[in-house]
Symmetry: C2
Subunit: 376 residues, 2 copies
């Protein structure tokens, strides 16, 4: 293997795959990055067997990459990424000798790194062309951002540590819940698929990495599902994740369809008040804060015997239905208010012991449900 | 106590004293900040008994502070600082009731915090007007920055965890050493003092806090020393630190006054090469990197059986004396090269087993000594 590549391009590609490198695997080769130079370009691959990221630099443009001799090698991620980032010259020459040893030259710098046998590196699975979805990258990213906050972080019920993706010919719905709150967003697909209704639960951590990896624009990406795996085809990148086993709970019935009180409130003012109340609430059990509707005002308050108390009054921008007093976890409510976009927030209440629904004021198919907390 | 103060001014004052708040003291009152409103203004004080920081907001300007009723209280630093920073209104009203309870009002927000008895809070020591030095704030900051990196972090010899300040009527010399390297800087005093030659060893951590606290301008500050304490008078701030006990070693004799090789080199190019070599060296014992002078070139190289090797050649900007090959700890050398200012660095060598001296190319009374590492 012998090639010349732009330092900036190689550094960017290394950064892309970095997050899939295993940090504590018992398989030493997984702490490396697989390099393969072929006819189409230079392909980089890393995997910790939970997720895998593959990215490539195409050899179409000689001013970016020039492959003189194809080949492959596995190089320790820890050294190669930082090293390439710190090279002084805009060009890097990479040569691999037959003894799995790679030499990088850049300006007057010469680095020789001991590598590993590329044949021992696991390959990304080749999924049969089963259910597949096509959608815009930025739209999927928005949906991930809006739901991921409700994913369970404790794995008492492992299936809840994932985001449940339900899809049919026309739409994809994301649901996340940790059983105290729930977030759901529906997307309409760009290229309808003929497949029947299906479900896949993708680990929250994988979705976090996918979010980081996807471009912030409207380029199309494909999601391909097999029984235990998801593969995402994005521009110059492939992302792989295993799926979570187990039946995801049916959450459709816990979302109330009626309300007793509907509150329209300025989102940033509401977040500010919650943030201040949380200063005290965070050191109490369940982070309890109370919301009380008095006339056309909303009072946010909390108190703790040890610390003190706080109260604050905000104007309601519009109010429908009955007065109300309800207590909730301030952290969950802040997470919900943050994941709703726009200046105005709509909150539907169905009584002091029933779920609250937060939605954006415009008609986006997104909602965030928060359960109240029982107080003495 | 009853006063009205600008939120931004109070938040800034709280941030100033925050670093002296005890985080793990057995004395609960030290986790608080002492507030005292009097004729001259509002005074804030925090101490962990190692260091103390006092700052004040003068009541000269009514648009900043308006004291209606003097008084004092101790409030938990954890809550008051974050709370004041998050208040929505530019003004804060602070009222203290007789039961050590404080109420803050800002806009529609009302916070009540349980406080503690201000009489129980320790006071900053009143030092007798003994040895005192007057110098510019920014000059002292520069000297701290240039020496603090060589302070010992392990306390096998506790006195080396401090910076040694030696002063006479005209100058102040700072010395730090961890016995592998040494940094020293001499300052000339703005207001010569009549006192005899004296020495005080200030803990490195205290100097770090003092650095953070001092303004970046040429305003004058006073350093006052007593047997076991140092007190710094800065604009609207007083800083207190206890001193370290024990005799600081006499380091004047270990600094070579002659050289066999003198190298002038571009500082950022030298730092870049060390940084790249350090990628491999940091995972070896003593972080060993070798510098070799070949002709008018400088080669920086290192190797490790497990990882690989690196070598890089830099041009010397000027060279005097004999060729040389020497090995050193890359981290220490980088610390030294960073603490020397200017584009060009001068390094004096007195042989492969003798100390190296780094200095700026201009004639600043600063030098950084690094010991070589013996290699096989």
């Amino acid at each position: 293997m012998k090639l010349r590549v732009q330092q900036a391009q190689l550094a960017a590609a290394l950064q892309q795959v970095q997050k899939a490198v295993s940090t504590r695997s018992t398989l030493p080769i997984l702490s490396g990055i697989h390099f393969a130079a072929g006819e189409t370009g230079l392909r980089l691959l890393a995997t910790d067997l939970e997720i895998g990221i593959e990215t490539w630099i195409p050899s179409e443009q000689q001013e970016i990459l020039d492959i003189e001799e194809p080949g492959s090698i596995v190089l320790s991620a820890k050294y190669i990424s930082e090293l390439v980032r710190k090279l002084p010259d805009p060009w890097v020459d990479l040569t691999v000798e037959s003894n799995f040893s790679a030499t990088l030259r850049s300006g007057s710098v010469e680095f020789t790194l001991h590598g590993q046998d590329p044949e021992e590196f696991p390959k990304l699975p080749q999924l049969p062309p089963a259910a597949s979805l096509t959608l815009q990258s930025d739209v999927l990213k928005e949906a991930i951002r809006q739901t991921i906050v409700a994913v369970a972080t404790e794995d008492t019920r492992p299936v809840l540590t994932g985001i449940c993706l339900t899809f049919d010919a026309e739409s994809l719905t994301l649901v996340a819940t940790d059983s105290h709150r729930l977030a759901t967003r529906t997307l309409f697909l760009e290229v309808p698929d003929s497949g029947e209704r299906r479900q896949a639960v993708v680990p929250g951590k994988s979705m976090q990495e996918l979010f980081r990896l996807l471009p912030d624009d409207d380029r199309l990406i494909d999601l391909v599902f097999a029984d235990h795996q998801m593969l995402v085809h994005a521009p110059q990148t492939r992302f792989y994740s295993r799926l979570l086993e187990g039946q995801y709970p049916d959450t459709s019935k816990i979302i109330p369809t009626q309300f007793k009180t509907r509150l329209y409130i300025n989102r940033s003012a509401f977040l500010g008040a919650l943030d201040r109340a949380h200063l005290i609430a965070r050191d109490t059990q369940n982070h309890v804060v109370r919301l009380q509707i008095v006339g056309d005002q909303v009072e946010i308050s909390t108190s703790s015997q040890e610390i003190g108390r706080v109260s604050e009054t905000l104007p309601a921008e519009r109010l429908e239905g009955e007065p109300l007093s309800i207590a909730f976890n301030a952290k969950y409510m802040m997470d919900a208010a943050r994941s709703v976009d726009g200046d105005q927030l709509v909150i539907d209440f169905t009584g002091s012991m029933s779920p609250m629904i937060l939605r954006p004021a415009d008609d986006l198919p997104y909602l965030h449900l928060v359960l109240p907390v029982r107080t003495v």
